[in-house]
């Protein structure tokens, strides 16, 4: 899942590019895994990575979502979230993450740690997001540091196998139930390149009572290549929310379900890729939500 190249990997860059030197014995399973992931990501860039949470359109951003897109929640809340992602039926390619968020007045903050892959090939990540949000809008900065687990990791300016990405995002209430957002999670990249090249994402969310529609366009990072588009429609019924998503390049769909009981929330989404199989993401969270965000 990682493109081990310095600084500026091409969008959807193959994992094989600039692989870190590693003992030959360890390479065989790694190469198989790498090839599968490279194929997956080369053909289908994923919008989120280390903190990829199942997100229903219209729901308040979870701590992981805040870390991933730098879009802070409108209302302050103390929340914790644990999540796991199984990527494209690839054995061993699993991301586990824990994220926390808090808010005070207009200030918002989140932090999290993540681990992807096995001890020989995987990597660890830590993220921090800080921002402000209020009634009509919000904005934040995010930073993620990663470190490869492989002992022979690529030596770069930040240390062996280490990488940094810094970005930001903002949203505003455009009226009529529409929220517009922009997220550029990788404005600055240093050291080992991130697993995925993520470009500027411009999104629109339209909430109509229990129905929510989210549309997004993600530019290729660096401008080269094709953009992809995402549409997700969610329907809420009491504590349950179900959503359907569709994306292009290549065309694929996803189905998600979320449920909330008091402060406890669970969610899951399955995304089906026409060639590579399914990605499953699950999350469980605890949140002390403000009155405005409580389900009816």
């Amino acid at each position: 899942m990682r493109a081990r190249v310095r600084h500026e990997p091409a969008p959807g860059a193959a994992l094989s590019a600039g692989r870190a030197p590693a003992p030959r014995r360890a390479l065989a399973p790694c190469i198989a895994l790498a090839a599968a992931v490279a194929l997956a990501l080369g053909a289908a860039p994923t919008p989120a990575q280390d903190f990829a949470a199942p997100e229903a359109p219209g729901a308040a951003p979870s701590p992981a979502a805040f870390l991933e897109r730098a879009l802070p929640a409108q209302h302050p809340s103390l929340a914790a979230e644990a999540l796991v992602s199984h990527w494209y039926d690839v054995p061993g390619l699993t991301t586990r993450a824990l994220a926390l968020s808090a808010g005070w007045r207009t200030l918002r903050a989140a932090a999290g740690i993540s681990r992807t892959g096995d001890p020989e090939l995987g990597w660890s990540a830590a993220a921090l997001a800080l921002g402000v949000a209020g009634e009509g809008g919000g904005g934040a900065l995010r930073a993620v540091v990663r470190r490869d687990a492989a002992p022979g990791a690529l030596a770069v300016e930040l240390g062996p196998g280490a990488g940094l990405e810094v970005g930001g995002g903002a949203w505003v209430d455009a009226g009529f139930g529409i929220t517009l957002s922009a997220s550029a999670p990788q404005v600055l990249v240093r050291g080992v390149g991130p697993p995925l090249a993520r470009g500027l994402e411009i999104g629109a969310l339209w909430v109509m009572d229990d129905l929510a529609l989210r549309l997004a366009r993600v530019s290729p990072r660096g401008g080269g290549g094709g953009a992809w588009h995402d549409a997700t429609l969610a329907l809420a019924a009491g504590p349950l929310t179900v959503w359907l998503g569709a994306r292009d390049q290549p065309a694929r769909g996803s189905l998600g379900l979320a449920a909330r009981a008091r402060a406890l929330a669970v969610a899951g989404v399955v995304e089906s890729h026409p060639l590579l199989g399914e990605t499953v993401r699950l999350s469980i969270g605890l949140a002390r939500l403000p009155e405005a965000d409580l389900p009816p």
Binding site: H7, E135, A170, V187, L188, I202, G223
Partner: protein, 466 residues
């Protein structure tokens, strides 16, 4: 676009961009440099903000890149009832120079940088763009102070107005005289060696026209009119003449020999419609058309939304080399939204140009987001991120607003640009700092910084820079 289609669109169609369009917002790609500016290079132009009477403005600025020596700029402006003067200096500053305006012989005398405009601009002060009604940087009232030449320009009022100028335009020393009365004017511009051009212009409420003739008998004529139709303003202009006619003062702004353009501006409540249709021909085999339609909606508390469609074909300027590739059909679509709560603005823009319908087979794609947050005491923070793709041979310019100028930053290829701007009061004035991070495909990210401090003071009034 065919000629018939252009004419049909022209029936609907004012400039969605260029000539009479509003000033571009930061990070906009709506402005292009004038024809005399080298294509693919940064272009800087002075903003025509006015200084209050009895006031003085001082500005200090520096810009640079890591590993390079900073380049400093300085400027001083002063204005009172009788005198207005400014001096700019700085290594490599394209706006460096001085201008002095003062009363003389019952009129006004300007010495230094000149950007005059006579009539429709056929001899002095043309817009250059075939679809533009007026240049953005020529003549009184222009939104930018251009630089057509350097010299002296005397204007006397009264009954018949008299103008006289002696200046160096490009590499040519020119002298000119113009007499004007009751909307009619006749002017003569001459150069050493006997070259000269006559300008005969007539301006009436709602319309104006000009005929220009040079020593060889080559001529050019242009007329334009604006009519109100309810809440809409319909404008049209037409030009004709001999291919070989070139303005002595600004030959590269001579524009096409033949052109026709129609534009419409309509405001209906919170909605506005702007459209333009234009076709032109520089010479046989070198022609072009352009049609554009822009619809914008203004919401009282929720910002503005605009959507535009445009089609261009052919040459927009006389190519610098005979081997230059002919311009192909370009179809563009763009949308822009800006708004947010008080003190917090988010602007989103997406623009795509292609060779086919709905901008398919993209030759140029730009996505941009900008966030502005205002703090106390006039402090503000702005962050902009732009992702672009421009096929080889395509020009792309990104507008960057600085305290005293507008910079059209030339971009090419694939890349991203992030700009951070901070503004805060300092030392009785306003300080600005900007940091640009540009990443282009296959190149290391490049950093550029700019610092600027401006202070205005006056005997009667004082205030911060805009």
């Amino acid at each position: 676009m065919t000629l018939a289609a252009a004419l049909a669109l022209a029936g609907l169609a004012p400039p969605a961009r260029g000539g009479d369009a509003p000033l571009p917002v930061p990070d906009s790609t709506a402005l292009e440099p004038p024809p005399e500016a080298p294509e693919g290079e940064d272009f800087e132009i002075e903003r025509a903000d006015s200084l209050a009477d009895e006031s003085l403005e001082i500005g200090l600025a520096a810009t640079g890149r890591p590993g390079e020596a900073p380049r400093a700029r300085r400027r001083v402006r002063y204005r009172d009832g009788e005198l207005s003067a400014q001096v700019r200096e700085g290594a490599g500053d394209p706006l460096a120079g001085a201008t002095l305006d003062t009363r003389a012989a019952g009129g006004t005398l300007r010495i230094g940088r000149l950007a005059p405009r006579w009539g429709r601009g056929l001899v002095l002060g043309s817009a250059g763009a075939p679809w533009s009604r007026a240049a953005l940087d020529r003549g009184d009232g222009a939104r930018f102070r251009g630089r057509a030449g350097d010299g002296a320009w005397l204007r006397l009022g009264g009954g018949p107005g008299v103008e006289a100028l002696a200046a160096r335009f490009g590499r040519r020393d020119l002298g000119g005289v113009r007499l004007a009365a009751r909307g009619a004017s006749v002017g003569l511009v001459g150069a050493r060696g006997g070259e000269h051009q006559w300008s005969l212009a007539l301006a009436r409420r709602g319309g104006e026209g000009e005929i220009a003739v040079d020593r060889s008998g080559r001529w050019r004529a242009e007329a334009g009119a604006v009519r109100r139709l309810g809440r809409a303003a319909l404008a049209g202009q037409a030009r004709g003449g001999i291919d070989g006619f070139r303005s002595l003062a600004e030959p590269e702004r001579s524009g096409p020999a033949e052109a026709a353009a129609v534009s419409l501006d309509s405001q209906q409540g919170r909605a506005a419609l702007r459209a333009i249709g234009a076709l032109w021909r520089f010479r046989p085999g070198l022609a072009g058309t352009r049609g554009a339609l822009e619809v914008s909606l203004r919401f009282a508390q929720h910002g503005n939304f605009a959507l535009g469609l445009e089609e261009q074909q052919g040459a927009r300027r006389i190519p610098s080399s005979a081997r230059a590739a002919p311009s192909r059909l370009r179809r563009g679509i763009w949308s822009e939204w800006r708004g947010g709560p008080p003190g917090f603005l988010l602007a989103l823009r997406h623009e795509a140009w292609g060779e086919d319908r709905l901008a398919r087979h993209a030759v140029r794609v730009v996505s941009a987001a900008r966030l502005e947050a205002r703090g106390p005491f006039g402090a503000s923070l702005g962050v902009a991120h732009t992702v672009y793709h421009a096929r080889r041979g395509e020009s792309l310019y990104l507008a960057e607003a600085e305290s005293d100028r507008l910079v059209l930053r030339a971009l090419a290829g694939d890349g991203e640009r992030t700009r951070l701007e901070v503004r805060a009061p300092l030392g009785g004035g306003t300080s600005r700092a900007a940091l640009d991070l540009a990443s282009a495909a296959g190149k290391h990210p490049r950093l550029r910084w700019t610092l600027d401090w401006t202070r205005r003071a006056g005997a009667r009034r004082s205030g911060r820079a805009p």
